[in-house]
Amino acid sequence: MNFLRIKPLTIKKLKRFRAIRRGYVSFLLFCFLLLVSFWGVGEYFVNSRALVVKYQGQIYFPTHGAFHPGTDFGFDYEYETNYRDLKGKFAEDPDSENWVLLPIVPYNAYENDFVEGEYGPQPPNFKRRHFLGTDNTGRDILARLFYGFRYAVGFALAYMLIVFVIGIAVGCAMGYFGGSIDLFGQRVIEIWQNIPFLYIVIIVASIVRPTIGILLGIFVVFGWTSMTYYMRTETLREKSRDYVASAKVLGASNWRVIFRHVLPNTISILVTFMPFTVASAIASLTALDFLGFGLPVPTPSWGELLQRGVQNLNAPWIVTSAFGGLVVVLLLVTFIGEAIREAFDPKKFTVYR
């Protein structure tokens, strides 16, 4: 794991990245969004379950863990307690010592919050804490946007990780060993790239109920090829450098040469591609959802939200929320990407001047 040690050169690059203000601020913002929406954390901000309930002298923290049936808090039903109702119930009795603390957005992404006598999408309503309004079935837009972000970013990060691992392995092997492995690998990739990805997704989605795992699988199966070519070129270039030759002369194994010498020197290209891969994965997933071939109903998703917005142009808060969210996130990721590219530009920091 020696190669993971931060080198002075890398520190210099990171410092430079920090100096690019737009990129750095975007990075901090994006990290903040990630943290807030992270599995287990997001539930404290946007959730139908209360943060804290004090009922008959006992304190409950319902956010995580098993659900509390309504009977736990004096309702007559056995399904999950509606904590907003509970709050209302406690408020009716000012003398009671029971209280409920709800999250900022007291809705989850699935529940239908219908108001009697009002139909269709409802505009933003601060009193009911629907900050971005609701959709056709009374679901909170902000909650769906929030959890949709979690799915989109989680999906994109997982996709990037898998694609990079495969891309690096295959690309390195092709570039470093060359010969028949290279020739054969290139042909396989060329053929593979000609399979129409969109059709495959549409066919699969129309036959089975697509889960996030299946979608990720399809994305990876058709997405791994792009990284291989960059890695192959980089490896080829590094391989022909003198230091690789000297390492070989000194008797270093292939393993050592690849991991100790070649890979660390290709890191800039990898880092540069990361944000753009994430951005394109988010965009593709959203596009698929928009077309109706993405995540299974009723998973919160940005594409679905966008499509709903377009279908209900008389409820502009849906389409603006989804569109705004998408623009902000893609912009952030792109700014980060540009800053990284600039910071890691080998022309500025190459040791082989």
């Binding site: 863990g65 056995e78 399904y79 219908f114 009723p298």
Partner: protein, 656 residues
């Protein structure tokens, strides 16, 4: 290399030419082969004398089926009827003329009405709505009135029908309709060249013979006796002009793809009026043969009907609001309430109308596949009945404007069992039933589990993407009863296949129903359609619940054979009760009316439409009033306000 360059250049040149040719193919049809051209007396004689050689030999080979007799051979004692007692349903005030503009989502891919690509939503404008059949069902009473025939007679065993063809009946090109054309229908419809297995089968299986007594009388034999015998002649057995198909052969599908077949109806399509992919215009015949017939006059009033393609329904709605189209069908309450809440409606230029009808309803429902684990348990099925909150769907999604379906055969009048009522949503009751089936404990997510730790979870399959919201509401509510619905929305063809193969657990489907006297049970509830002889589930049938009870089979067999309406009614009621008790059918919702919006110059008869009409434009009784049109156009310019108009016609509303 040189060769390669030249051939590439050639290919590049030919490509755009081919492309253009495919787009602007409106001129490539020779004019002689269109039913829109009026023939001369000589040509008419020629057309009547024409005999298709293939058909001739086919008739000779099947002389048992195709019988030719003379007028003198007609059996005695036939009781001729002509539907005289029925009332007219069009308005004598109707004004002929004007141009009606209509939007369609897809341009028809062919003008054929049979064969590949012909079963589109445009087919009704080519045949179903316009062509005159032998008889038609009266939209108000459900009785029959004459179309191509002037009168008919039915044998006592209800298996043979005689028709006297109206001497005035003729095609749009002026050729009279004769008995021989009905013979040709059988030859045509049974031909493999039309590539239509359904028609091949129908015309081979349903009839026993056709006999002509001269040119103007035919006799048709039916395999099964039915109380409503004439149903077989409402939409089927239309005459086919033999002379028009003198090139009928293997290449029929392509050769006749864009030829307008002579029609007995009022509208023709001229070759010049087809602009492929964009618009298509129908022209009214100046002197249509049925113009003075009692049940056909004052109908089909616009002189021209122009169809334009608009792919996106949202966009079409906007175009309608800006006056590009005359009428708009309304399918969902959000269009009625919100999307039409715009100035032209508020100022009364556009009128909204709601008409309560009484037709068999498309049965939107959840069907439980009893061949799947747990769903074979009556307690689970009863629990699911109570776990499905259609009340909330109706109240919120359908805005209280639709009604709960009560039984599997709503809308059949007295043949619907009034005692059967759908079970109401109750989380507590559902939990009681689930407990009886062994699901007593709640998991961490609130879903019930049994002793073995299995979760109470079912997949709900549907092909209706537009009903996503309905399913998400049902799914949320079902959680309250401790059952999980996994929603599977797939491509409609894939969903249909899955359901037909009975690979689903629960499906949300609706089957469209034509206006019939009494419901069908055999397709959905007979064991013949549930299991194969080897005990495996039978695919390609509509028994989606996989119901197989010998006792039901006996009832259904008796029902199918019966010609006694009282018995049919009694069995229908009994079966409906059994279906209710069996609980594999969770009734969804019905729309007890149709809705439309139209610019105020479109006028309607008193009472708007008729009891059995399913859509506003089905009967063609509306007309365009030029004076009101001019008045409205002027009013729009001035900004004059007529006041919002919403009409409700509830003369046929069935009160619960």
């Amino acid at each position: 290399m040189k060769f390669l360059i030249i051939s590439t250049a050639k290919a590049l040149l030919t490509f755009p030419i081919l492309f253009l040719g495919a787009c602007g193919g409106d001129k490539d049809e020779p004019l002689e082969v269109s039913g829109a051209i009026q023939l001369s007396p000589g040509q008419i004689e020629e057309a009547l004398a024409y005999r298709n050689p293939g058909a001739e030999s086919y008739f000779a080979e099947n002389s048992e089926f195709f019988r030719v007799k003379t007028a003198g051979d007609l059996p005695d004692g036939l009781v001729w009827e002509s539907g005289d007692g029925e009332k007219e349903f069009a308005s004598p005030e109707a004004i002929r003329g004007g141009k009606e503009k209509i939007w369609i989502q897809d341009f028809p891919r062919t003008l054929r009405v049979v064969g590949p690509d012909s079963a589109t939503s445009f087919r009704r404008y080519l045949q179903d709505d316009h062509s005159v059949s032998l008889v038609k069902k009266h939209p108000e009473t459900g009785g029959y009135f004459p179309g191509l025939c002037s009168e008919w007679a039915i044998s006592e065993d209800r298996k043979t029908v005689w028709f006297r063809i109206d001497p005035e009946a003729q095609y749009s090109d002026g050729v009279p309709v004769v008995a021989r054309h009905f013979f040709f229908t059988f030859y045509f419809m049974r031909s493999p060249w039309i590539q239509a297995p359904w028609y091949n089968n129908w015309y081979s299986e349903k009839y026993t013979h056709i006999t002509s007594y001269g040119d103007d009388i035919i006799e048709v034999g039916l395999k099964d006796a039915k109380p409503d015998t004439l149903r077989f002649f409402e939409e089927d057995l239309l005459p086919i002009p033999e002379y028009f198909y003198d090139e009928f052969g293997e290449d029929f599908i392509n050769r006749y793809a864009w030829r307008f077949v002579p029609t007995t109806g009022p509208y023709i399509i001229k070759a010049d009026d087809i602009r492929k992919g964009r618009t298509l215009t129908q022209t009214r015949l100046g002197d249509w043969w049925a113009d003075d017939k009692k049940f056909w006059r004052y109908r089909y009033n616009p002189d021209e009907r122009e169809f334009s393609v608009i792919r996106d329904p949202e966009k079409a709605l906007e175009a309608f609001l800006s006056g590009d189209f005359d009428m708009q069908r309304i399918r969902t309450p959000d269009v009625w309430q919100e999307k039409l809440d715009k100035p032209p409606v508020k100022k009364g230029y556009i009128v909204r109308a709601q008409f309560y009808n009484q037709t068999p309803r498309p049965c939107y429902s959840l069907r439980l596949n009893k061949s799947k684990p747990y769903l074979n348990d009556i307690n689970i099925r009863l629990g699911l009945q109570h776990a499905s909150n259609f009340r909330l769907v109706l109240e919120q999604y359908f805005r209280g404007r639709y009604e709960r379906m009560q039984s599997s055969s709503d809308g059949y009048g007295e043949y619907t069992n009034p005692e059967v009522k759908a079970r109401k949503f109750s989380a507590a009751k559902a939990r009681e039933y689930f407990a009886k089936a062994g699901f007593t404990k709640s998991g961490a997510d609130g879903i019930l589990v049994n002793e073995q730790g299995e979760r109470l979870s079912f997949t709900v399959t549907t092909g209706y993407k537009r009903l996503t919201d309905v399913l998400t509401i049902l799914e949320r509510e079902a959680r309250k009863a401790g059952v999980e619905f996994q929603i599977e929305i797939i491509d409609s063809t894939a969903a249909w296949k899955k359901v037909q193969e009975k690979k689903h657990e629960i499906c949300l489907t609706a089957l469209n129903r034509s206006v019939e006297l009494y419901p069908r049970y055999w397709d959905f509830w007979h064991s013949f359609n549930a299991y194969k002889e080897d005990g495996s589930v039978k695919p390609e049938t509509n028994n989606f619940t996989v119901t197989a009870y010998p006792e039901w089979d006996k009832l259904i067999d008796r029902y199918e054979k019966s010609t006694d309406l009282a018995e049919i009614k009694a069995i229908a009621h009994e079966l409906e009760q059994k279906i209710h008790d069996d609980s594999a059918f969770i009734p969804g919702w019905v729309r007890p009316y149709f809705q439309c919006a139209y610019w105020r110059w479109v006028q309607w008869p008193e009472g708007f439409s008729s009891r059995l009409a399913r859509e506003h434009d089905e009967l063609y009784v509306h007309w365009i009033d030029p004076e009101i049109k001019a008045e409205t156009k002027a009013a729009i310019k001035e900004g004059e306000d007529f006041g919002e108009t919403t009409l409700t016609f509830d003369q046929h509303q069935q009160k619960p």
